[in-house]
Amino acid sequence: MSEPNSNPQPKPPVISPAAAAPATPAALGELPAERVPITNPVAAVEAILREPRRIMFQLTQPGAGRVIASLLLAAIGCALVYGIVVGTFSGGEQLWAAPVKIVVGLVLSAAICMPSLYVFSCLSGSRARLADLCGLVAGLLALAALLLLGFAPVAWVFSESTESAAGIGTIHLGFWFVASYFGLRFLHAGFKLLDARGSGGLAAWVVVFILVTLQMTAALRPIVGTAPTFLPTEKKFFLSHWFDCTVGTPKEKPKTIPRAKVPSKFSS
């Protein structure tokens, strides 16, 4: 088989319809590509990155349950891998505890916020069913977790370099904010397609969701560092927990103390 000539006639690159979208987008499902069913997590991952409208359309079709399951599986898989990278900072038990906590935290946050999303959706005039909203939230989780997976190599480099739990915790939080931004953007786009009259209700819900996910970092601590118990024995608001981590973290951890024995207040 011969390779293409090194100086071929310039050929325009393949630009997707998304990149060269017309000013007024077609109605949901009008484009043939959007009607292609999503049957597995790999297809869901591909679609949520490149054809988010395909996901939104498929969520309104019979068999939406399979799409939601695919999105959730993708989210769980990606979050597990990212969690392992988070766990490499401390090693030992955290290699399995961190991924479990991150997956549980994500799913719990979504479950806790689901009823309020439905209520806010109704208040915004949307005719979305609970199943539609479940699909959008599954998409949010899948996209956010997928981006976390993309950040995983970067996070790993920092995990191996730094000794500061507060430092690596800040980096993970930064990645989570970026991932959440794109996930929530997907949710917002889906919300608009579900006949919502305004997005004020969604904006309020976004604040609630963000606060819940941030509180998970305190409720499920330690996720980054280590502690004598799997879950915390003391209840704390996340800001107070972060403050303790930042103030309590030494500039350089003494070499004689192995990572696994860092006191729980240093964990974030």
């Binding site: 000539n5 050929k11 690159p13």
Partner: protein, 239 residues
Amino acid sequence: MDAHSSTLDTQQIPALLRGESESISGWLDQSTTRRAALCIAMILVGAGLYGAAVGLWRSPLQAGYNAIKFPLIVLLTTLANALINGMFAPLLGLNLRFRQSLMAVLMSFTIAAAILGSFSPVVLFMVWNTPPLGPSLADARDAHSFLLVSQVALVAFAGIAGNLRLWQLLRQLGGSNAVAFKVMLAWLAINLFLGSQISWILRPFVGSPHLPVEFIRDDALAGSFYETLFSAVGKLLSE
């Protein structure tokens, strides 16, 4: 396989430097292993020569180490960020395939490496004119600082030029200034973020006068670039 394709066509590098978007965009559409190899070869040669020239002030051994480490920074940054860069492009409105986004980033680094490589004779001349590492630690520190600052300026220039070309290419692909700018900014931010840390791990490059020549320091993985930066800023503010 034709005879032409079996060799690296180095004549494509000037087209890349000139920013001939029409011909370069074809690279993304038909990005072959050979084209990727051409980019990697240019990075190895360009960044390697530049690194060697910088390290020569300290010692020939440091020059040898730098010739390996400079290209390594570029390639490790590109590889480690490939996944997230590939995700950012479609999410920000430019529907590039993973392979295409990887190639686009590689091409921008190739341009930067070509510029750095072209500067290597200039750097050699600078090194030749810089007071050598002698018994006076104060003189050595001045020379070390001069080299550090000048290298930062040269690397920044090469980086800006590479990203300018990248922006032009993305603008042609996306047909929109805003989309191209967003994608370039996202790629630039994550590449800078990780690139700084990888450079920190692979230090020294110029080499502090009072420290021995090493491939990497014993404490390479102790602390991060950002912790050191914050610590330095904190010290400045507290003084």
